[in-house]
């Protein structure tokens, strides 16, 4: 299966420096469970993933919405 290219390629939280964790989470959310249904249609996406936060009780995980476009390379 061709590699899925996301635009933008990196995803980040404005509060937490979690882009290394968020980028694969967004990528996974776009690919996960949708591969069988991704035939034609619009190539834009909008997913909800959990930003892990700072990992503390006061500043924990919170949901974020990310938007972009996908294409097959």
């Amino acid at each position: 299966m061709p590699e899925l290219k996301l635009t933008p390629s990196t995803f980040a939280c404005r509060i937490h420096d979690n882009r290394e964790k968020l980028t694969p989470l967004v990528r996974g959310a776009v690919i996960q469970r949708t591969a069988a249904f991704m035939v034609g249609g619009a190539n834009d996406f909008r997913v909800v993933v959990e930003c892990p936060g700072a990992g503390t009780k006061e500043d924990g995980a919170h949901p974020l919405t990310f938007s972009g476009k996908w294409s097959r390379e």
Partner: protein, 252 residues
């Protein structure tokens, strides 16, 4: 332009759709395909109901008219094709799968879902023209004028036994549009002044259709077939077979 996408606070709408998206698991994909396949087989039975216009049209009436017969054949062919495709998707090939290996499981899943999804989509689309063709067939049968009445007789000469005089066998048929479900036609065949056939035929599916046979009829005699229903009177004289045989009684 920055190549970084920053997350936004999700709306309630985002959260609701994300929750719904979690129901699209690999297992539900297969359940969806199986349910679609079963529904398809069930829905094709509705084509028959449309063909009969919900019971208003007898199948014989649909088949009697060449135009409605053509549409009916198209409808049944397409519905049959949809059933066939749906049945083929229910066939399962024995393929080994190692459920503990996610890669192998994904390959098995892709094999299972891949062509079935396309085939079922095709079958689903096929049902739409099938329904339309059935509706057209029923509509044509409902609006088409009834077939005109007809009387046909064939006389076959049979050699006489032991050098006797030859006789003839009369075979014939009468078809008259029925005035109603309780319409009855009185049919008589008279040869040389003698009644050789007398019968009553009731209407069925909008038509009175009867066939008769008379053996041992003397040759070279005048033969007259008379069929009378509530709305039609047909008189066929074998010696003078020209002209209009059947007349509408109301027009007389």
């Amino acid at each position: 332009m920055s190549d970084v996408g920053y997350g936004e606070e999700p709306t309630q709408d985002d959260l609701d759709w994300a929750e719904y998206g979690k129901t699209f698991t690999p297992a539900t994909q297969i359940e969806l395909l199986n349910a679609t396949s079963e529904k398809l087989v069930g829905r094709t039975a509705l084509v028959g109901i449309v063909l009969a216009a919900g019971g208003l049209v007898a199948v014989s009436s649909v088949l009697a008219n060449s135009l409605s017969r053509g549409w009916a054949i198209a409808a049944v062919t397409m519905a049959g094709g949809a059933i066939l495709v749906a049945l083929v998707t229910q066939v399962r090939w024995p393929r080994k799968v190692r459920p503990g290996d996610i890669h192998d499981l994904k390959r098995w899943h892709a094999d299972y879902v891949g062509w079935r999804r396309t085939a079922l989509a095709f079958a689903s689309f096929l049902l739409v023209p099938a329904f339309l063709a059935a509706a057209v067939a029923a509509g044509v049968a409902l609006t088409a004028p009834p077939a005109p009445p007809a009387v046909n007789v064939t006389a076959t000469t049979v050699p006489g036994a032991d050098g006797g005089a030859p006789t003839q066998t009369l075979t014939g048929s009468v078809t008259i549009p029925a005035q109603g479900s309780d319409d009855v036609a009185e049919i008589t065949v008279v040869a040389n002044g003698e009644t050789v056939v007398r019968m009553r035929q009731a209407a069925s599916a909008g038509t009175i259709a009867a066939s008769f046979e008379a053996k041992g009829v003397q040759t070279d005699v005048g033969i007259t077939v008379t069929a009378t229903s509530a709305a039609w009177k047909c008189v066929l004289n074998l010696a003078r077979p020209r002209g209009e045989v059947c007349r509408a009684l109301a027009a007389e």
